[in-house]
């Protein structure tokens, strides 16, 4: 039971990192990405390959995966951030589909649908993170780091530029900001932070396969921040907690047939997305004033 709870908490912290990093572009910059699971996957594969062939140290794998994600984020931001917001959603959806195909078809590198197995135990400063407790501590530290980075960034001049561009791109440009550059950097930062989650995930479950990095996963991450609240610091973490506790909670409802549990869970969060969008688009702990969060 303790193992189960530790496991759940590790997954919540990984999802918290995913949600917080996506929230950085959705909530603060008004850029809607559907490719977050793709970056999650790119980082997980990078981390797994480095652990197998180079070093199992988190201090090697995490920076490498972050750099990889930031570099690949340019593939979608360079073409699509020059034009209207819709195009970024479409381009990121496209990248998500391409990434899934690459994960499952580039068999020499990714192992195809079977994935990469036998990722070694992570090390940090020479210590092996063998127990769940130690890994949880590292995951929570990473979550705190990501949340901290976003908290600080949002309060720098860069964060103010982002919000200015989100609220009125033309006005921000008139004040001498370069919207395309600022948004491109924001997407790269968000993807790099997402990379931390990918590496942690690869080490935690010790194997990676394409199934985890589908468009459904992208939507799940999006659902976390929408349910929790966009543009807030703790909303994404709350959302990650809710999304992970939901399946655990459903197993206690014994009248539900076990076979339909996965579907029931999806119906609940799909339904929650619809109802929240109609009645409370800013999420559970979002600002009640919609104008701040969603007007662009």
């Amino acid at each position: 039971m303790v193992g189960y709870i530790l496991n759940l908490l590790i997954l919540v912290s990984i999802s918290g990192i995913l949600a917080a990093s996506l929230n950085f572009i959705i909530g603060y910059a008004g850029i809607y990405s559907m490719a977050h699971a793709a970056f999650f996957g790119i980082a997980a594969y990078t981390g797994a390959l480095i652990a197998l062939h180079v070093s199992a140290s988190l201090l090697v794998a995490i920076p490498a995966a972050m750099a990889m994600c930031a570099a690949l984020s340019l593939v979608i931001s360079l073409p699509s951030l020059r034009v209207r917001g819709e195009y970024f959603v479409v381009a990121s959806l496209g990248l998500q589909m391409i990434a899934f195909t690459v994960f499952s078809e580039w068999k020499d590198v990714t192992g195809g649908l079977g994935g990469i197995t036998g990722v070694p135990i992570a090390t940090l400063f020479g210590y092996k993170l063998r127990s769940l407790e130690s890994f949880l501590v590292v995951s929570l530290a990473c979550l705190a780091f990501v949340t901290g980075v976003i908290y600080v960034l949002a309060r720098t001049s860069f964060g103010r530029s982002l919000r200015a561009i989100r609220d009125n791109e033309v006005a921000a440009a008139a004040f001498g900001k370069n919207p395309t550059l600022v948004k491109t950097i924001a997407v790269a930062i968000s993807s790099a932070l997402c990379g931390i989650a990918g590496v942690l995930y690869a080490f935690h479950v010790s194997f990676v396969n394409p199934e985890t990095f589908t468009v459904d996963q992208s939507v799940l991450i999006m659902a976390m921040i929408i349910i929790g609240g966009t543009g807030t610091v703790f909303g994404p973490i709350l959302g990650a907690l809710i999304i992970h506790l939901l399946p655990a909670g459903l197993t206690y409802l014994t009248f539900l047939p076990a076979r339909e549990l996965a579907s029931m869970q999806q119906i609940i969060y799909g339904g929650a997305m619809v109802l929240l969008m109609i009645y409370r688009p800013s999420g559970i702990i979002g600002r009640a004033n919609l104008k701040d969060t969603w007007s662009k």
Binding site: Y32, G85, E86, A91, M264, Y269, M273, I278
Partner: protein, 290 residues
């Protein structure tokens, strides 16, 4: 010879994609609703058709008509009970998209509970392939889908150019405020748009259920192809969306000539990224810039 066969297959696939895309393009072009649940309409029509025709043995034309009608009702209901309340206050493009996606997730899982997650298809003699000479094989349904696409596009062009509702729909995509000024009700027009767009996806859903079969998750691919085709063709251009669908179908099929089949699924999206990079306004679009 392989090339010719792939070309013929690509034309059939392209016709299906064109049929899928044009419904999305009608809705997106006129109302600017990012109707992700367009794929859901497709899946609902396909499953109803399957359930009526294959399980209850209703005559196929009655099953098809009923399924198409249900698709129209679904589309109009979404506009009325989901999109409209969101757009009433501060509705942004993305809020609508998320709600639309949520609808898709709910519908998909209800279908999984009702019919199971695995693949269903309808057996009909029409899917049998006929040799048209030179070893090239074409199925009757393949010919039917190419003809259906041609006919529907002709009808659509006539409808949008010559009827009052059609002209009003085009006006709605140009300037909703002006439409109001002329005493027309944009809300009502938006309902017509959803009815028309949902109806247009029906032929693709019916044919594809027979030809390739259907899974509860098929909607994602349908709407992604529709979005890609609409962007490639240029937002607001129905001709463009149709041509975009045709290009994507041809490209996906011809890719098999050089690549293994697994990779061909990504071809459409590589083309999409290419268009966003080089020509974001698409083939016939005019207003892609901010």
């Amino acid at each position: 010879m392989l090339f010719l066969q792939l070309l013929v297959d690509g034309l059939q696939l392209g016709a299906l994609y064109a049929l899928m895309a044009v419904g999305f393009a009608v809705i997106f072009g006129s109302t600017r609703v990012f109707h992700y649940a367009h794929g859901t309409t497709y899946v609902i029509i396909g499953y109803l058709f399957y359930w009526l025709a294959e399980r209850l043995h209703v005559p196929w034309w009655l099953a098809a008509a009923f399924a198409a009608f249900a698709g129209v009702v679904f589309g109009v209901a979404l506009d009325r009970y989901v999109y409209r309340p969101i757009q009433r206050d501060e509705g942004s493009f993305f809020t609508v998209f998320v709600a639309s996606f949520g609808i898709g997730v709910v519908a998909e899982n209800i279908i999984i509970i009702l019919f199971g997650a695995s693949f269903v298809s309808i057996s009909t003699p029409l899917t049998r392939a006929a040799d048209v000479g030179g070893g090239i094989v074409v199925s009757y349904l393949g010919i039917f889908s190419v003809l259906a696409a041609g006919l529907l596009f002709t009808f659509l062009n006539w409808f949008l150019a010559r009827t009052d509702v059609g002209v009003a729909l085009r006006a709605l995509s140009e300037n909703p405020e002006l439409v109001r000024g002329f005493g027309l009700n944009p809300r009502k027009l938006s309902q017509y748009t959803f009815a028309l767009g949902s109806l247009l996806v029906a032929p693709a859903a019916l044919v594809a259920t027979c030809v390739t079969g259907l899974t509860p998750t098929a909607g994602h691919r349908v709407v992604l192809i529709s979005i890609a085709a609409s962007i490639i063709g240029g937002i607001g251009s129905l001709r463009g969306a149709g041509l975009g669908g045709l290009i994507l179908g041809l490209a996906e099929s011809l890719a098999v000539w050089k690549l293994s089949t697994g990779w061909s699924e990504a071809v459409a999206f590589v083309i999409l990224l290419g268009f966003i990079l080089a020509r974001p306004s698409g083939l016939f679009g005019t207003r892609a810039r901010v």
